[in-house]
């Protein structure tokens, strides 16, 4: 690690760190791109990338090299909500893959290495992903997990046949629990966290032979449906969204990955440019273009600014041998005025992220009366919801079938022990409500290790637009809402909020219906009406042939005939393992059981049904990854039926659902 003085001080603003509460800026310095190219080209490890810190982000600030890679590269960073660590996608040499690393910022700043010269990890870093996949563009999720974009050599094919698709994926903070988040066709180009805890993502897909870029809202737990957000567009929002109507948008090709900031119009279209002087398309932009915006609290943006003197900042510059110069700047979208922050010739400074240290209680100390167990949730509802009359938080079980004694508290004290499920035997799952305080703050304690949904209700009990989904963590952990909001230096201030200081408030256990899926009632009819009725997966058919461990060949029987305490279909879906050669154990086709309870993304059933054949399947080998066949022959299933299957699996694939007749 090295520390160097910062140049060009006379061009610097008066100290964005002081102005906005940042302690520093971190950013990526990459080798300039070889050509304007296309987003469809594979992400390669190009020597010349490193992670840098500017501290303070002000005149006189120093540049600190957080990594010192000679031949490595960095493809995405995200600072943790507490500002103490960051996630980075790093490759260490040509031919290497991008893997996710967590870096202790304080350690790295004070000289601890992320990598040793011998190729080992240094004390500043922990590696979170392994293997031959490219993992890039990491993102902290509100529930503590990490989302990222994975391109797996054995993963689904990009629908345009340019290689492996980039798939939005998530892991637990320690790198375990890999789960695919986006089950839709096409591939994910970028994602950001919305104020309600859902993700905004852009999916690149193809319709009628034409590329189409579609913005979506996605429940990061995968437990709720994906919602389209506005019409398709050609200017792609790639970066994090900090407000519902603003997004980073980039033309699909030809601008070195830079674009502008877009505003969503009244018609839902994202094509309205919000930065004076910068167009939304890929036409000539003498004023340059921007990427990776971070919204500052005064309405300006911290951006990576790309400019070609005398050029257009698009593909035409390459025709004349001109290359762009990337630098960091603060941008006023109203006037288009830019204030330079940092620039190093011969390198591209991108992905600027402010570091704003915040106090977030450590697990084990943040929850009072921790001996009772449970995980705390605290934070604020969004100002927009508060203004619309947000009054209560409703808590529902997110995963049916979980039976765990648990406690809830309001204002920091326990108010009673309840059990999830149907405690009052009225055949509907219990839910509980807690008030949203006048300043928007709330605090509850929920069961650990159980999926939860928190809904914001208005004074009349109606669910408002926000429907955030959280997940329980280990006992005594605290999940805060800080990751829902931009890491923009604002002080969370929860400790001084009404909920943070309030006396205990009794729980209101008014019940509300929650769907509780039952296999025989809800799922078997779908199978009967399609898979079985069409004669493909009844007891005498051979469709879905698999080889048992003993070498027997069977067809996948999805009939509802009784088998043991369940049914044939249920047992086959949950317990038939992958297709293996009976002698060698070598995988013949798939790698997974048909249904992995709680994990639809990794369930073969969903992969077969939900991922239609997207591209020239006939040219693929039989052992190729899932998603290459099956979509056509399973087309009789409706979207609603497919989503019900996904919901059932993510709900733990229960056989008996609560509320159903045993």
């Amino acid at each position: 690690m090295s520390v160097t003085g910062m140049g060009c001080q006379d061009l610097l603003p008066e100290g964005i760190s002081e102005q906005f509460g940042f302690s520093a800026l971190v950013f990526v310095s990459r080798a300039p791109p070889p050509n304007a190219g296309s987003l469809a080209l594979p992400d390669g490890c190009r020597p010349g990338g490193n992670l840098l810190m500017l501290k303070p982000a002000a005149p006189g600030g120093k540049i600190i090299k957080l990594t010192d890679l000679d031949e490595g590269d960095v493809l995405g960073i995200d600072v943790a909500p507490d500002g103490k660590s960051l996630l980075a996608a790093i490759c260490t040499c040509p031919g290497d893959r991008f893997h996710l690393y967590r870096m202790d910022l304080e350690a790295a700043e004070h000289g601890a290495d992320c990598f040793t010269p011998e190729g080992d990890l240094g004390p500043a870093c922990t590696r979170l992903t392994f293997g031959p996949a490219h993992d890039s563009r990491p993102l902290h999720l509100p529930d503590g997990r990490i989302a990222f974009v994975r391109s797996d050599p054995d993963g689904p094919v990009d629908m345009r046949g340019r290689g492996r698709a980039r798939v939005l994926t998530a892991v637990e903070p320690d790198g375990s629990g890999l789960k695919r988040l986006d089950l839709g066709p096409g591939e994910t180009l970028g994602a950001g966290v919305l104020p309600d805890g859902w993700l905004q993502l852009v999916r690149w897909t193809e319709r009628d032979g034409q590329p189409l870029y579609l913005p979506f809202h996605l429940d990061p737990t995968g437990a709720s449906a994906v919602e389209p957000d506005g019409p398709g567009l050609h200017d792609i929002p790639l970066g994090p969204l900090f407000f519902a109507d603003l997004a980073a948008c980039v033309p699909p090709a030809g601008t070195w990955g830079a674009g502008t900031i877009c505003r969503r119009g009244d018609d839902g279209s994202w094509s309205q440019g919000a930065v004076a002087g910068i167009p939304t398309g890929s036409g000539c932009s003498p004023e340059g273009r921007v990427r990776d915006p971070v919204r500052l609290s005064d309405g300006r943006f911290l951006v990576s600014y790309a400019h070609v003197p005398g050029g257009c900042m698009n593909h035409e510059d390459g025709d004349r041998g001109l290359v762009p110069e990337f630098s960091l700047a603060v941008l006023d979208p109203q006037s288009g005025k830019r204030i330079p922050v940092y620039n190093q010739p011969q390198s591209a400074e991108i992905w600027p992220r402010p570091v704003a240290e915040r106090t977030i209680p450590d697990p084990g100390t943040g929850v009072e009366n921790c001996a009772a167990g449970g995980v705390g949730f605290e934070g604020f509802v969004g100002a927009d919801l508060l203004g619309q009359g947000a009054a209560r938080i409703r808590v529902l079980e997110g995963i049916s079938g979980a039976v765990a004694p648990w406690m809830m508290e309001i204002g920091g004290s326990e108010v009673g022990a309840v059990c999830s499920g149907d405690a009052d035997s009225d055949t509907v799952v219990d839910t509980w409500e807690a008030p949203v305080q006048a300043d928007g703050s709330f605090r509850i304690r929920a069961p650990s290790g159980v999926g939860l949904k928190l809904q914001v209700l208005d004074h009349y009990g109606a669910v408002m637009a926000a429907d955030p989904v959280w997940r329980g963590g280990p006992d005594c952990a605290v999940r805060t809402c800080s990751a829902c909001h931009a890491n923009d230096g604002a002080v969370s201030g929860f400790e001084n909020s009404i909920a943070g200081r309030s006396a205990p408030v009794p729980l209101d256990a008014s019940a509300a219906d929650q769907r509780s899926l039952d296999f025989r009632r809800d799922i078997q009819p779908i199978l009967d009406g399609t898979c079985v009725a069409q004669g493909c997966h009844d007891s005498s058919s051979a469709s879905g042939t698999y080889v048992t461990y003993s070498g027997s060949i069977r067809g996948l029987d999805l009939s509802g005939s009784p088998s043991g305490r369940t049914t044939t279909a249920y047992q086959n879906l949950l317990f038939v393992d992958t297709d293996r050669d009976g002698n060698t154990g070598k995988i013949l086709e798939s790698r997974r059981v048909y249904v992995v309870p709680g994990d639809a993304a990794n369930s073969r059933l969903v992969q077969r049904l939900g991922i239609p054949c997207r591209w020239e399947c006939s040219g693929q080998p039989a052992w190729a990854p899932w998603g290459l066949s099956g979509g056509d022959v399973h087309s009789s299933l409706t979207d609603v039926e497919r989503w019900l299957l996904v919901e059932w699996i993510d709900a733990g694939a229960p056989f008996h659902g609560r509320g159903a007749t045993p």
Partner: protein, 269 residues
């Protein structure tokens, strides 16, 4: 004379941007335009795939920017002109007068064409081209074809090529060809270059070669920590409980990376 498709304004209504302004066919001239413009033009052409594009795209298979060649191969495949593309790219690849960059591009394009007809030229280049960059590109392209028949040539390269970058590419490609066997990849875990050993471990894991368990257990103690981590990942893919003891030992490795990987694998095995 080349017939030129009139590009009407209504193409915008068809749903793709006319970002370059001019007819995309006109933008395929490497004498006038840079890589970015030509790549963008080919992206645009994919929207309506005019037959006139084939003759203009074929020469780009040997363009010295491999991204241009890759895109050209992709477009020809999408247009159903893969056979013509194979002939053109193979000619560049086998032309001793072609530059090294052009031959690399031709190999990349042959992989992108996904046509089995390209296997012969790629195999020849893999064994005989004088430039390591060309041999490496040929190896990766053979992997991209995902077809039987390439494993033998790739295994020979993995065992005997003098250049680590070529052996590394061969090891990576063997992870993608169906007829690969465990032996050559297991042997490569003893290669003198650690990047080759990493790729070999990954490919063994991708194929889930149970026969390689012993070698992979040994690789956990490789002096290069990246090899140990790759071996741990491969053992997770194979998923054999017999690996637990070796992984448990590796959690105490002096290599932080190997120890982290082993711990991570044990939590999921």
């Amino acid at each position: 004379m080349r017939l030129r498709l009139f590009i009407p304004a209504c193409l915008c209504l068809l749903g793709f941007p006319l970002t370059g302004g001019a007819d995309p066919l006109d933008r395929l001239d490497p004498g006038r335009y840079g890589p970015g413009t030509m790549i963008l033009a080919m992206e645009d052409l994919d929207g309506y795939r005019p037959s006139q594009a084939v003759d203009l795209v074929l020469p780009l298979l040997g363009h010295e920017d491999s991204d241009v060649a890759r895109t050209a191969g992709w477009l020809l495949r999408r247009m159903g002109a893969g056979s013509a593309g194979v002939s053109a790219a193979a000619a560049v690849l086998s032309d001793p007068a072609a530059t090294e960059a052009a031959r690399v591009s031709a190999a990349v394009a042959l992989g992108e064409l996904r046509d089995g007809g390209g296997s012969g030229a790629l195999t020849t280049a893999l064994a005989g081209d004088t430039q390591p960059s060309v041999r490496a590109a040929a190896a990766l392209a053979l992997g991209a074809l995902h077809r039987d028949g390439a494993a033998g040539a790739l295994a020979n390269t993995l065992a005997s090529d003098s250049e680590p970058a070529v052996r590394r590419a061969a090891a990576e490609a063997l992870g993608s060809v169906p007829d690969a066997t465990a032996g050559p990849l297991s042997d490569a875990l003893m290669d003198g270059d650690s990047t080759v050993r990493v790729e070999a471990a990954w490919s063994l894991g991708r194929h889930r070669f149970r026969e390689a368990l012993g070698r992979l257990h040994g690789a956990l103690a490789d002096q290069d920590c990246r090899v140990g981590a790759a071996a741990a990942w491969a053992l997770l893919q194979i998923g054999d409980p017999q690996s637990r003891d070796a992984l448990q030992t590796a959690t105490g490795s002096s290599c932080r990376l190997t120890a982290q990987a082993a711990t991570w694998v044990l939590s999921q095995l």
